[in-house]
Symmetry: C2
Subunit: 456 residues, 2 copies
Amino acid sequence: MAGVKIGVVGAGSVAWSSKLIHDLLHTPQLYGSKVYLMDINEERLRLLKGFAEKYKSEVGADYEFVATKSRREAVREADIVINTAMYGGHKYYEEMRRISERHGYYRGVNSTEWNMVSDYHTIWGYYQWKLAMDIALEAEEYAPDAWLIQMANPVFELTTLIAREARVRVIGLCHGHMGYREIARAIGVNPDEVEFEAIGFNHVIWLTKFKQRGEDLYPLVDKWVEEEAEKYWQEWRKTQVNPFDIQMSPAAVDMYRRYGLFPVGDTVRGGTWMYHWNLETKKHWYGPTGGPDSEIGWQIYLAHGEAWLEEIEEAVRSGSPLAPMFPKGLSGETVVPLINSIIHDEPATYQVNVPNLGAIDGLPDNVAVEIPAAVDGKGVKRPQGLKLPGRILRLVLWPRMLRAEMAIEGFLEGGFQVLLDWLMLDPRTKSEKQAEQAWQEILSMPGNEEMKKHYS
Amino acid sequence: MAGVKIGVVGAGSVAWSSKLIHDLLHTPQLYGSKVYLMDINEERLRLLKGFAEKYKSEVGADYEFVATKSRREAVREADIVINTAMYGGHKYYEEMRRISERHGYYRGVNSTEWNMVSDYHTIWGYYQWKLAMDIALEAEEYAPDAWLIQMANPVFELTTLIAREARVRVIGLCHGHMGYREIARAIGVNPDEVEFEAIGFNHVIWLTKFKQRGEDLYPLVDKWVEEEAEKYWQEWRKTQVNPFDIQMSPAAVDMYRRYGLFPVGDTVRGGTWMYHWNLETKKHWYGPTGGPDSEIGWQIYLAHGEAWLEEIEEAVRSGSPLAPMFPKGLSGETVVPLINSIIHDEPATYQVNVPNLGAIDGLPDNVAVEIPAAVDGKGVKRPQGLKLPGRILRLVLWPRMLRAEMAIEGFLEGGFQVLLDWLMLDPRTKSEKQAEQAWQEILSMPGNEEMKKHYS
């Protein structure tokens, strides 16, 4: 029996939290623990608490689930704090996007080269960042021995920021690296037999190792690109329904050709503006939905989140067994196994986001990289001196890092200049007046009063 | 008597070399030295040799001047190698600029945020960079104990590149920091009494210290901005004839307001595209000439270089005394005093460009920074931990550094992608087709055959 305290801040995301609860219930090593589910949405909390209790009895697991609206109660003396909170809800960001587009910024001023992900809120994520920092500082004060697991996006920026500005042990987690399994399946290899390494920044990772029984699989990837890609795309263009089905898209293959390594997971959603000028361009590279970050794909994604909510509600209400909602075994999310490795000092390797400190050559120490690393009770043991091609460092990671540094500067120091200069590096900008007016209108939006003050 | 060997590669730039010779002749500590003036332009060499011998007799100085077309002869066993060579002549670059402009890239694809200087050739400087690296590698082989003084632009990129790629002790030199004297004069302070510090990258330096007898002079700058700038600009708009007369321009003051420190020297020529969209914008910020890097200002600059050439020719031919061509004392260029400090182990402080190695906080170690540093026979003693505001680091130096890293990547690794991605970060780009076509036509220009191969 572990008897640890896990505080989950922002547990109201039902799709995600139900998977977390499923994994906890199927991890007997952590039985006896207390799990605080914290959110500001009371209704969601009630639903989740009901779900957790019902599923717990069904499995016969031993946990104490506490639903609370008090963040401090969830954090205080926790061994693990998970931040999965998103400030404001999607409507808030969609409104900023709408204003941006009126000023010529398709998909919003937040979208930039190598970050086209529609809810990876960087330069306009003021409140989201403030929330994440508040949680980190609360952990620093009320749970000084805790590990903070940062799952809320933007994982790259927030892990970097928190590691610099708070005295708390932070690990950023994401599941995008699982995209390597789709690459394996495409080339006819069992994903479970694959040894892989994908490194870079969160959402910008590149396949540096891809092997089966010691044999390099890249030649099979090349063969697929050469002989099968066209046929695959023909079919895919007729049948793509999931906008996230882009791991083997023309965009991914084009990036592979241009930069020399295969892009993994959310990386494919990035790239320069050449993949993203408009819906037509997006369809060319990402299929008929235009990928997850087009105006079409994003609506599908948002609708999908609501469907999960209804399904769980229905399952709890009807009293039917919950297990069939989930695949057998753990969900594949690494957060629960990682917690177990930390709590029970059981070393295992995870894809984590942590300050570089020499892990990847050619990047500063104080920027969060995404790498596979051994984690145990003592923490994260980084590999050292991992290599990426100069092309990827200079043309992808450095530009991406520049955006992170600008957003961090803006968040920490405020002032209008950073917002203006952000858009002066953007090929959508035609004049500084356009940039100024877009930001002025965004800042004047109801709800952005504090943000406006910060950036004035 | 020093008896050292100084090899000057690219001595054919008469305006510059005549000042170098003037300073050498007025530095008796270096008498007895051999000075190799190397260039591929025989006519210029003859002119310079004639000038040097005549001026030497006039002053009664003791030097041996050797004119040579052999780079190796100039470099071999030199104690000091000065690289001041510019590949190709201005016409070559003007042609690339002309092609760029046909594709929508005003002032050329080489111009970017914080490098709008018309002959600071970065991404399109393939041959210039190759020449600089050849000289550095020749010094490595034939003059392993020499100091290489890199004066040919782009000093920022080339000093960085050479320090990384050649085993030679390199110092980059520029005179742009002298702009602090104009600021002093504007606020009514004797420049000779001013203590100043201006740091950053070459051509991107910011006034971090500005004092007179221990008193901070920034309040006087603020007063000037508040009370006198408008009046000054009114007059200046009517009388500006020198396009370089921009140290106190609206651009400089605007940068000061936006970034928090006063920009010094060539820094004022930089900025984001907001100062540079077109001639009209440039005139607004840089006066009626549009500054040195407008189509007007640049023509004035090019014409001025030719005038110097004619003046020296005429002076040598006529037999009239040469001294009156120069102001009393040394020219103000630091290269000769710096050589003397190195050769005679006489410590003094110079504005140099050297790999950071901790000199400025928040910048990588392997990037060349411009700082004041003590130089003596053992080399450069950097100050440590100099501070710049986050705003300048994140919004100015990081974007500028990103461009340097992209250009270095392109030079070392080649391939078309870097050229394309260079323009995908440019607000003048409307489509990747535009970017591709601009580069294709530049690469297909006669004379660019090797460069085309490199970038294919």
